[in-house]
């Protein structure tokens, strides 16, 4: 069982297994500051020592363990077991700060099925979002009125990723899962309509996350989000925004309509995920468009400012556009984006010139499922000899070029596969622009 709750005005309960516990009278040493990411790697193996941590344990039974662990999340996890039932693990969140309207909570768990005939979680005031997994593997969530059951079953012997999106603006929440035991993989929404907050909260900040019952959890992550849209897509993508790094990625693979397709619109709000503001200019996105730089950075108030290039509301962005995500010295953060299947995209202009000063560079991103550069139907470029693609992988460029017939890596035929959402530079050598046929 997992329970996540908050102070009176905001409470969120997630039940993975076992019995719900709503007691909240614990003393916590440290508050978790958003964004928060804890895979329990820094804790000593054995009984969880809560002193100096953000956690509180009721009835004991929380044990830092080396087995099982979720692949990709280090070598430790946290077991809730063997205590005097029910075991409750609570994380208190620092609610200071502002500028965000949404919160994401994601973790991976191996839940023990809970018999919903034996005292299922009670929808108590103060609980904002509640869900649990029953013995049949069905996820059940409270939608503010009744217990809602999803339409597929989880394998409780496997790690399942759970992500809860709490939209404080609209007082709605969504639940996503991933079932392939792959860290950071795309998740899918399991509720068919947005769930109402269980309690009619007036607050805007998550205050407590509570996990209750018998389960193994790993990778507890809480992050801020800024888009105020009600999520309409069923696919959830996540990306790690690495500290002190520059990553070449894509704009969110979602078809925004003007004016939401600008940095001043919903797209700009979505791009704040996983980024931080700072004194002197914080994290930035850099977009090379029509042969020029457009630089937007976050100030400490988490608002975008145009350093150079087009004003925020003037640059319209669409899937196919690459973005450099530039993060400063900080910790790695995770960004969540709703994503849709890309079809019928508008072709992009690919600029070309032989002039070495005004070069034909284009910042692109692959909007479709992973595709081999020399596969069928190809990448959609009407390439001419000398055109080049630069993929940015592992902090260095991987260069392939068009020899007039096929893409090559040096002298060899390239076997490179471009991943969905992967950004790249395209250099068009010819002196005139062409269309990138996004098919």
């Amino acid at each position: 069982m997992v329970a996540v709750s908050t102070y009176r005005t905001v409470r969120f309960v997630v039940v993975v297994s076992g019995i719900l516990l709503l007691g909240c009278g614990h003393v916590f040493s440290v508050d978790a500051v958003l964004p928060y990411d804890n895979g329990f790697e820094s804790y000593d193996l054995g009984a969880l020592s809560t002193g100096g941590t953000e956690w509180s344990v009721a009835n004991g039974g929380a044990v830092v363990s080396s087995s099982p662990v979720m692949t990709g999340l280090g070598t430790k996890s946290l077991k809730l077991t063997n205590g005097v039932m029910p075991v409750a693990l609570a994380l208190t969140v620092d609610t200071t700060g502002s500028g965000y309207t949404n919160v994401w909570c994601r973790f991976y768990a191996k839940p023990t099925g809970y018999d919903d005939a034996g005292g299922k979680p009670t929808n108590t005031a103060d609980n904002m979002c509640v869900f649990f997994v029953n013995t049949g593997g069905w996820v059940k969530a409270y939608n503010g009125n009744v217990w809602w059951t999803n339409n597929f079953r989880l394998d409780t012997n496997k790690w399942t990723g759970f992500a809860v999106h709490m939209n404080y603006k609209n007082k709605l929440w969504d639940l996503y899962v991933s079932t392939n035991e792959t860290f950071n993989e795309t998740m899918r929404k399991v509720n068919t309509t947005p769930l109402a907050f269980c309690y009619d909260v007036s607050g805007t900040k998550l205050q407590k996350v509570k996990v209750t019952g018998e389960a193994v959890i790993d990778g507890m992550l809480l992050s801020k989000a800024f888009t105020t849209n009600t999520m309409t897509q069923t696919t959830l993508a996540s990306d790690t925004r690495y500290a002190s790094r520059i990553e070449l990625g894509t704009v969110p693979l979602l078809k925004y309509t003007a004016p939401d397709d600008t940095m001043a619109g919903a797209l700009g709000e979505a791009l704040k995920a996983g980024m931080k503001g700072d004194v002197g200019g914080g994290d930035s996105v850099r977009i090379f468009h029509t042969n020029g730089w457009n630089i937007y950075e976050l100030d400490s108030a988490m608002t975008w400012g145009a350093v150079t290039g087009a004003p925020l509301a003037s640059l319209h962005l669409a899937p196919g556009q690459g973005v450099l995500y530039c993060r400063g010295v900080d910790t790695n953060l995770t960004a969540f984006y709703e994503q849709q299947l890309m079809t019928n995209l508008t072709d992009r202009t690919i600029y070309g010139t032989n002039n070495a000063i005004v070069r034909g560079w284009n910042m692109c991103a692959w909007p479709y499922a992973a595709r081999s550069c020399n596969g069928t139907p190809g990448l959609g470029f009407a390439s001419s000899a000398g055109d080049r693609i630069y993929l940015y992988r592992n902090n260095q460029y991987l260069r392939i070029h068009w020899d007039g017939t096929e893409w090559r890596n040096g002298a060899n035929v390239a076997t490179t596969t471009i991943q969905e959402g992967e950004g790249f530079w395209y250099f068009r050598r010819a002196g005139t622009p062409a269309n990138w046929d996004l098919e």
């Binding site: 004194v279 002197g280 200019g281 100030d299 400012g305 925020l312 530039c326 460029y397």
Partner: protein, 335 residues
Amino acid sequence: MNTGLIEGRTRTVAWVCVCALMAMVQVSTAASVDTESDVWVEKKSGAPAIEYGPDGVVTVSFDAQSAGGPPVFQSAMLMANATVSGGAFVGNYIDGGIKGIYLQLSNSVPGCAVQLVLQSAGSGRLWRNTNVEMVKGNGQWVAGTVSLDRSAGWTRDSGDNLDAMWTQDLQNVAMVGVRVFQSGYQAQSCMVGQFMLKDSIGFVTSPANLTDLQSLLLARFDVAGQDDLSAEQLAQDVDGDGMSDVNELLAGTNPDSASSVFAAEIIEDETVGTGITISWPCVIGARYTVLRCTNLLEGMQNLVVGLVATESGTMTYHDATAAGEGPYFYRIRKD
């Protein structure tokens, strides 16, 4: 105006510094400089080189980008004394009477893009002013004061009432500084000589609007207009060559070198036949008028007007009409 007479043989040459330039200077209000940044906190993107000279000049340089690889955005943020807690660059600018930011820049050709930035501690909002970008590429030192009036170009990209935000943010400033970034792909550099807060406005304009004379006056006296010079400043003659620093700036000579002075002399030139040849130091592009009289009590008359110096150095004029016994008195005026 500074005027003097030199007599040579039976003929006399007069030299003078000119008052015509004075009419070009329209700015008033002397300003005092409160604090100069001596500690820059850097924030770099890409690989700019930042060097600090012994005279306090900080130079930001960008190498030319290779034509063979993808473009790279490069920038350097220089934050004034940002690590000095409670220093003069943070806090309440309105209560402190801070009215402007004075900066001295020299930009390469082609030039970097330059903007001023200011961030509030309370709201976290970051403001920028791109008016200083107009100095791009002039290759010379320019200086000026950018007003902290929002209409002087301070802006940000979000918010409904920017004026109210700006007023609020000026009361709790966390950081002020200069951002320099590479414009295009060629090698560029930008030097920041001085960066200071001013407690009153010298003038409300961007440095790019400064005339050369305004820049020189600001650099030497911290005022942009001759009307703002004190009596002491007007009389100052650092190199002791007999010509005040102000007049040397007007004439285009070096006020720190006694051998550089705006003085005319007669040249003996046997090759040009009868007449008198006069020479004087000149500045490229400047226009000069030669005046003459034979009796000082009758006043000077224009002999030739608007001689344009095609290069800096020495300019000469041969008065072939001075064939009589004289005496002849000459005055050279820089227009």
